[in-house]
Every structure is written in structure tokens, then in C-alpha cells.
């Protein structure tokens, strides 16, 4: 899901960088733990490590290959701070694995960050009256599925405005179905494990303690 160099029009490239910068500012402003930021660095770097390594795990689907990204899990665990994790992991993937491209870094970061934020806000719904407490696992799955779809929509829009056919979105969605399923199930399992213990790892619950 990393768009390579040379595929996007200059305007789309510029829009990508602007959007990702805006999202980075938004994430820093919206995390209520700015004073407590250094305490969260170990947590952020561990989630970044998971994001970074996940792109090596590929599944061949049809004519192409797709890989895990775990942006949904990052959103659930880090809240708005997941934007930072996403940006750092994308830069490291670009430098160390040649994934994506320098010119498309902004657009890729914006797509991934939006996906992580989607998962974060969707997972917050488990606290509303509409959902039972025990439904958090289903919500985790849904949050990951929605995050992946947001990522695909972002990439498809960027490609569409750079002259690619609109059908790209559909084909991208089709090849990503196995990833949505696998990543959703894995994230739900991790959420179940993390919510069983006494210590809290989910972003909003950390906030409650602060």
C-alpha cells in the first residue's frame, strides 16, 4: 500500500505533504499527555517497531502482493499519537526496505495516519451506550477493517487524481480482503489479551488514569 515514486502528480504530492504535516500537528495538539510525553516514548517506539516490521509480511494475492500494516492496532493503542508512530515507521521502511518513495512519503503518511485515527475513533465507540462492554473485540475488528478501507480510499483518490482509472479503488479493495480479515482477527486477539490484565494499554484508559 506504499505508493512508489513517480506515480503521483506534483499537486497531489504537495497535498500529501501538507495533509500529513497537518495531521502531525493535530495529533500532537490533541493528545492530552503533552507534559507526560516522554513517559510514552517507550510505548510509541514499540508500536512503531511492530508497524515497521509488519510490512515485510506479505501475502501474494492475484497478480500482486499485499502486506500487513497494523495501523488499526497503532490507532487503538496510541490514539492520536499513532500519527507519529506511522510517520516514523514509514520513513524507516523507505530508508531500510525501499518501500514507497521520497516524493510520495507525504501522501503515504497521510493515508496511514488517517487510517490509524479512524481506528482510534471507531474503537472509542465501545464506551457509548449503544455497545455492550464485551463487544470490544468485534469493534476492534471493525476498526481495523474500516482503517484499511480508509487507507485504500486515500491511496485510490491520490492515484485517481494522478490519472489512474477510478477502478483502482475496487481492485485495491479486492486484493486487500485477506489482509482485512487476518489483521482484524490478529488485532482483536491482541485487544482481548491486553484488556484482560489489570494494567491498561488502550489509549483512552491510560488517559483516565492521568
Amino acid at each position: 500500500m506504499h505508493i512508489a515514486d513517480g506515480l503521483l502528480e506534483p499537486e497531489v504530492v504537495a497535498a500529501g505533504f501538507a495533509l500529513s504535516a497537518a495531521l502531525a500537528v493535530y495529533s500532537l495538539k490533541n493528545s492530552q499527555d503533552r507534559e507526560n510525553f516522554s513517559a510514552l516514548v517507550p510505548r510509541i517506539s514499540m508500536v512503531t517497531a511492530a508497524l515497521f516490521i509488519s510490512s515485510l509480511l506479505n501475502i501474494p494475492v492475484g497478480p500482486t502482493t499485499v502486506h500487513f500494516s497494523f495501523v488499526g492496532l497503532a490507532g487503538i493503542l496510541l490514539g492520536p499519537l499513532s500519527v507519529l508512530a506511522v510517520i516514523v515507521s514509514l520513513i524507516m521502511q523507505l530508508l531500510l526496505f525501499n518501500h514507497g518513495g521520497f516524493s510520495t512519503l507525504g501522501m503515504n503518511a497521510a493515508n496511514f495516519a488517517l487510517a490509524a485515527l479512524t481506528a482510534h475513533y471507531l474503537f472509542q465507540l465501545r464506551r457509548s451506550q449503544l455497545f455492550r462492554q464485551s463487544w470490544h473485540k468485534y469493534l476492534a475488528f471493525l476498526a481495523v477493517a474500516a482503517a484499511t478501507l480508509v487507507k485504500i480510499a486515500g491511496a485510490s483518490l491520490a492515484l485517481y487524481y494522478s490519472g489512474f482509472p477510478a477502478g483502482v479503488g475496487l481492485s485495491l479493495t479486492a486484493v486487500h480482503l485477506p489482509i482485512i480479515l487476518a489483521e482484524g482477527l490478529l488485532t482483536a486477539a491482541v485487544v482481548i489479551i491486553l484488556m484482560k490484565g489489570k494494567r491498561v494499554f488502550i489509549y483512552e484508559e491510560i488517559q483516565d488514569l492521568v
Binding site: 517507550p42 509480511l57 506479505n58 492515484l159 485495491l172
Partner: protein, 193 residues
């Protein structure tokens, strides 16, 4: 000097907490995994999870995430045999006997990829790769740049004077990245203490 000694001690402590030996052994075992002892590996992962859950409050979170990474690595190794770690970069392997061949860098042929052939900046020929990831060029065609692109955001360029550029092996990249992030986590944890 004292400061560094304390830092070193802290990192060692953290690594011990994460049961580094256990994890290294796990990796060693994973590299020898066959379909037969999948259950053995699964038991190992579960044991590691239990150990990590018993860890002190500080160790538990990184431990669990590390486990996730390890479990995924195990899945990867299981599915790809002992093949090197896969990736998804599109590559043009080269032009031999008038045929352009394109593949992903895990070795799978890039099927139905658009190939654009240029000479002095002008598009000369356009076609799609077949099931072997190859496209035959018209006879006697001159070219100085070939571009491959698919509808999934992948793209590759190939020029006549293409040199063998140094590529970091995947495992080295993964090791460098992971150790950087782990060190960052350890260092910031140390500073808080």
C-alpha cells in the same frame, strides 16, 4: 562514565526482562521449523506469552508486542519455508533476447504489469507482461529507459546504464530498524527512572 555504566546496566536488565536468550533460541528453532513441529512452535509462543504476562508492569507491554512481532515472523517463516523475508518492491530484472522481465523482489513474476519503453524521452512502445512476467519487444527496437507500473501503486524504472546498486538485505534492514527502536525505548525508559 558512571552514567554510561548505569545505562548499560539498565539495557542489560531490560533485555533480561524480555528474556533475550529465550527469544534468540526461539528464532534459532523457528529457522529449523518444518510443518511437523508447528504445534511445538505454537506451544512455545504461548509459553512466551505466559512468561511475558507474569513479567513486571514495565516489561509486559513491550513483551507482548515483541511477541506479536515474533509470532508474525514465525507465520512468515512457516509459509515461506526458509526463503528470505519477502517484500513487495516491483523490479525490472533486465532485457534479455528482446524480452523485458518484471518481478516483485520476493521472486514472483509481475503479471499484467504495464511496460512503457522510451527512447530519448519519447514513448516508443507500450505493452503488458504475460503470466511469466515477461513482455517481448518488437525486433530492433531502440530504447534507453523502461518503466513498469501496475494499478496497485508499484513502479519500477530501468535504464541502459543501470549499475548494480547496493541493496541492503532485508534481514539487515529489519535488524537495524528494530534495534534502533528497541534502544530508543530502553533509553527513554532509563531516563525516566
Amino acid at each position: 562514565m558512571k552514567k554510561y555504566r548505569i545505562l548499560f546496566k539498565y539495557i542489560m536488565k531490560l533485555l533480561l526482562k524480555l528474556r533475550v536468550n529465550y527469544i534468540l533460541n526461539f528464532f534459532k528453532n523457528v529457522s529449523q521449523v518444518t510443518a511437523k513441529n508447528v504445534s511445538q512452535v505454537t506451544t512455545r509462543i504461548i509459553t512466551l506469552q505466559i512468561i511475558s504476562l507474569k513479567r513486571s508492569a514495565a516489561g509486559i507491554f513491550p513483551g507482548l508486542l515483541l511477541l506479536l512481532i515474533l509470532a508474525l515472523t514465525a507465520i512468515l517463516v512457516l509459509f515461506s519455508g526458509s526463503a528470505p523475508v519477502q517484500a513487495h518492491e516491483l523490479l525490472i530484472e533486465g532485457v534479455t533476447e528482446g524480452k523485458v522481465s518484471a518481478s516483485f523482489d520476493d521472486g514472483t513474476p509481475a503479471i499484467q504489469v504495464d511496460i512503457l519503453v522510451y527512447h530519448e524521452g519519447e514513448l516508443q512502445y507500450e505493452g503488458r507482461t504475460d503470466r511469466q512476467g515477461a513482455l517481448e519487444l518488437p525486433e530492433g527496437m531502440e530504447w534507453d529507459k523502461i518503466e513498469a507500473r501496475d494499478n496497485y501503486g508499484h513502479r519500477a524504472l530501468y535504464t541502459e546504464e543501470e549499475e548494480d546498486t547496493f541493496r541492503l538485505p532485508r534481514w539487515a534492514g529489519a535488524l537495524i530498524g528494530l534495534s534502533f527502536l528497541l534502544l530508543l525505548a530502553a533509553f527513554s525508559g532509563y531516563r525516566q527512572k
